[in-house]
Structure formats: C-alpha cells, structure tokens
C-alpha cells in the first residue's frame, strides 16, 4: 500500500469537506431570508393555498372512549366476518364511527353516518386494494376473534381515539410546485402552524397526507385506479391531472410504537377515496398507497 499517497488523499478529502462545510454554512439560514416576494406570484400561491385548505382530524387518545379505535380487534356487525387475504388474514388497522367525527363539521363529502373498518393485506402491498375498507350502517357487534394465521407483527395493541380538528394545507408534493420557498408570507398562515406536519406520529382523517417520500399522491391514485404505471420521465396528461383532483385522503395511519404498529420501516398507510363515491357510501372503490423509509 502506498502510505504517502493515502495520507495525501486523506488530506485532500479533508480540505474538500472543510470547503463544503464553509459553503453550506453560508448558504443556509440565517443568511437565507424567508421574506416574501412581492408581486403576483406570491399572491397567486397564497390564494391557491387558502382555496385548497381542508379540515383534518387527528386521531388522538380518547377522553371518553367510544367506538373509534386504532388496533385491537374489530367490532364487526353481525354477519360480517374478518376479510380474507391472499396468503394470510389481513391485519385489522382501525375502525371509525363517521357520525362522531362528522359532528366536527366540514366533512360533507362523507355520508352522515356509518362505520368504516380498515384492514391491510401485506401480501397485496402496491395494489390499489391492499387496504381493505368495510363500510356498514349496522350497529357494531362484539369484538371479533383474530383469525388463526394472523402474524404476530400484525396484531396491534388497542387505542380508543377521539378527534382533534386542524386546518390542513397541501404539501408541495401534492401541489406539484415548491411552496417551501420564499413565496409565502408566513405571518398570514399563523393559524396553520398548529397543524402537525413534522416527524410526529400522525393518524388522521381528511385533509392532506403527510408524505414520507416523493410523488403526487392524488396523481398516483388516479394511475393506480386506472391500472396504469406512472412514468416519471413523462409529464402527467392534463386529463389525468384533472381526474386526480377528485381523490380525498380518507385515512392516514402512521407507524405507532405504542401500538406495536410498524409499517415496514416506520412507514405509513394512506387510504384515498373519490368524494362522490364517499358521499354515496361506496367504500369499495378506494385506493391505498403505502410509503416507508
């Protein structure tokens, strides 16, 4: 081994690292100001964000436990059985009473009442129907026994949940344009800062998804629904982009260590539905997208 060569090489490497450190330090805050740009572009983006604001409900531990819960065992109505998976029984993820959270208002794209049950089939991950949603207007029954063959890592602890309402803004991924730039006067959006977009655990209903990875989920939903594969090297056809506007986030379920719920590597499950299907109670036409680290 050429020892002097290695030493010189390491020296050069150290020098380069130092140069990058200096450049990075100067490039980043606090030298970069987020002061708003005046003019029509700023106004356009602000107007767009205001127009697109949707309510979201975070699923938080319930003060007075009711029907809605994450994990545990489903309280399926009589006559309804645990759905079958491709290879193993799907995991039970959550059950939600729609009437309870409709009381929070602003969810008129959902039916007035009914209960939804979400199951997830690991074997179908990637398919639009990997998340299996059951909808019922019937009264719930007692807890259903877990079917034999349900893997241990897909049996979750139970948490009864309540709802906390927040305004939700679309991310730059959803919008398809970078708004985490200097274009927005954040003083105008102080009230949105209460909405959780960070790395905290986020189970939610409605609003916009908190993406872990790149991509426009509404567009991905439309591709999945059509049974097509998106080519990221090609622009999205305008007709498809327009059709994608119909998709609404119904449920977002995060990994949650307290429930022994880990989707791959701290991933998330996102269930989408078209507003018109949801309104008429057709929960058989959902698209589920998964993301992980």
């Amino acid at each position: 081994m050429n020892v002097p060569g290695v030493v010189i090489g390491l020296g050069v490497l150290f020098g380069l690292c130092l140069a990058i450190f200096v450049l990075e330090t100067f490039r980043q805050a606090p030298f970069r100001s987020r002061s708003a740009l005046p003019g029509p572009e700023n106004y356009r983006l602000r107007s767009r964000l205001r127009r697109m604001t949707r309510p979201t409900l975070l699923l938080i531990p319930a003060k007075s436990p009711g029907f809605s819960k994450i994990g545990g065992l489903p309280e399926l109505p009589p006559g309804v059985s645990w759905p079958e998976g491709d290879r193993e029984p799907p995991a039970f993820v959550a059950q939600i009473d729609i009437a309870t959270f409709r009381a929070h208002g602003d969810f008129d794209w959902l039916p007035e009442s009914g209960r939804i049950y979400l199951f997830f089939d690991d074997d179908r991950n990637g398919a639009a129907d990997c998340g299996m949603l059951l909808f019922s207007q019937m009264a719930p029954g007692p807890e259903t026994t877990a079917p034999p063959g349900l893997p241990l890592n897909r049996r979750f602890a139970e948490r009864r949940v309540g709802f906390m309402k927040f305004p939700s803004l679309p991310s730059s991924d959803w919008l398809g344009e970078d708004w985490a730039s200097d274009d927005v006067e954040w003083e105008d959006f102080e009230d949105f800062k209460a909405c959780d977009f960070g790395d905290e655990i986020e189970h939610r209903i409605g609003g916009y998804p908190s993406e872990l990875q790149n991509g426009q989920m509404a567009v991905a939903c439309e591709y999945l629904w059509r049974g097509e594969t998106q080519n990221y090297r090609e622009p999205v056809p305008e007709s498809l982009r327009l059709a994608a506007r119909q998709w609404r986030l119904l449920l977002q379920i995060d990994s949650d260590p307290a429930l022994n719920m880990n989707w791959w590597d701290s991933g998330m499950i996102y269930v989408f539905i078209r507003a018109r299907d949801a309104k008429r109670g057709d929960f058989s036409r959902t698209v589920t997208i998964t993301q992980t680290h």
Binding site: E24, D123, G126, D265
Partner: protein, 144 residues
C-alpha cells in the same frame, strides 16, 4: 491503481461535488412547510440524490429498530440513503404488487444488493477485487 479504486474516488468526488453531507440542520426526514430550512428528503431531492418519483431508502442504518438510536444527522445523510423506485423499495420490505403481478420479497442477498447505497459497491470491489464490480454495475444499468 485499480479501476475500482478510480470508481470509488470518482464516486467520492461526485458526492462531494453534490454536497456529500448536510451540515446545518434540520436533519429530520421532513420538516414543517413553514420551517426556515428544508428537511433531508427535500434536500436530497434538490441535490440530485433522489430523482423525481424516487423513494429514499435508509440502506445501512434503518429509520426504525436499532436505527432509532442513530441520530438523524447521521442516518439521514446521503451515505445512508439509496434512491429507489417504489417497486424496488417495496420489495426490499415485503412482497409488492405492480400492474396486478405479485412480486415476492427480495431474498436477503438481493435486499443488501438493491438496498445499500451505490457508493458501497465500488468500495466492496476495492476490498474484494474487480469481479464483484461487473455484475453490480450491470444490474444498476438495468435498473436505470
């Protein structure tokens, strides 16, 4: 100097040119939109480590499990992130269905192969000889 050593050096220089390390924070995977500085995912995209539509896979230190003990400013850096399409990423973690076809989970060797960052391939070659490099690059070429 072997060709593989040159490849390693080239890889290092390319990485340094892109900004091999995000030095100033935050180093969390994603930040709130109103945060002053962007999170690691956006930064990796901006620097070209993640192409449009690519997922960032934590290749060596996972986000969960034992990776929880690794600070974000270490595990969310480019050295640990491999840009993957959704299908490859899905198959590292489990079976994945694409266009109605169910694909099995990668076996452990494939998981290491596809899931570890590209820089580890020439590094492995440097240590073990050029024979490893050819198939690595061939598979990478097929994927791109």
């Amino acid at each position: 100097m072997a060709a593989s050593d040159l490849a390693l050096a080239k890889g290092l220089l390319t990485a340094l040119g892109k900004g091999a390390v995000k030095i100033s924070g935050p180093h969390v995977w994603r930040t709130k939109p109103w945060d002053e500085a962007q999170g690691m995912r956006k930064w990796l995209g901006e620097k070209g480590y993640l192409k449009p539509g690519e997922h960032g896979h934590h290749g060596l230190a996972p986000q969960n499990g034992w990776g929880k003990a690794v600070p974000d400013f270490i595990k969310n850096q480019p050295w640990n992130i491999k840009g993957l399409d959704a299908v490859t990423h899905g198959r590292i973690h489990g079976p994945y269905t694409v266009d109605g076809v169910k694909l099995p989970r990668f076996n452990p060797v494939e998981r290491v192969w596809y899931g570890t960052p590209t820089w580890t391939k020439p590094a492995a070659t440097s240590m073990t000889g050029d024979s490893v490099r050819a198939p690595t690059l061939a598979i990478e070429g097929q994927r791109r």
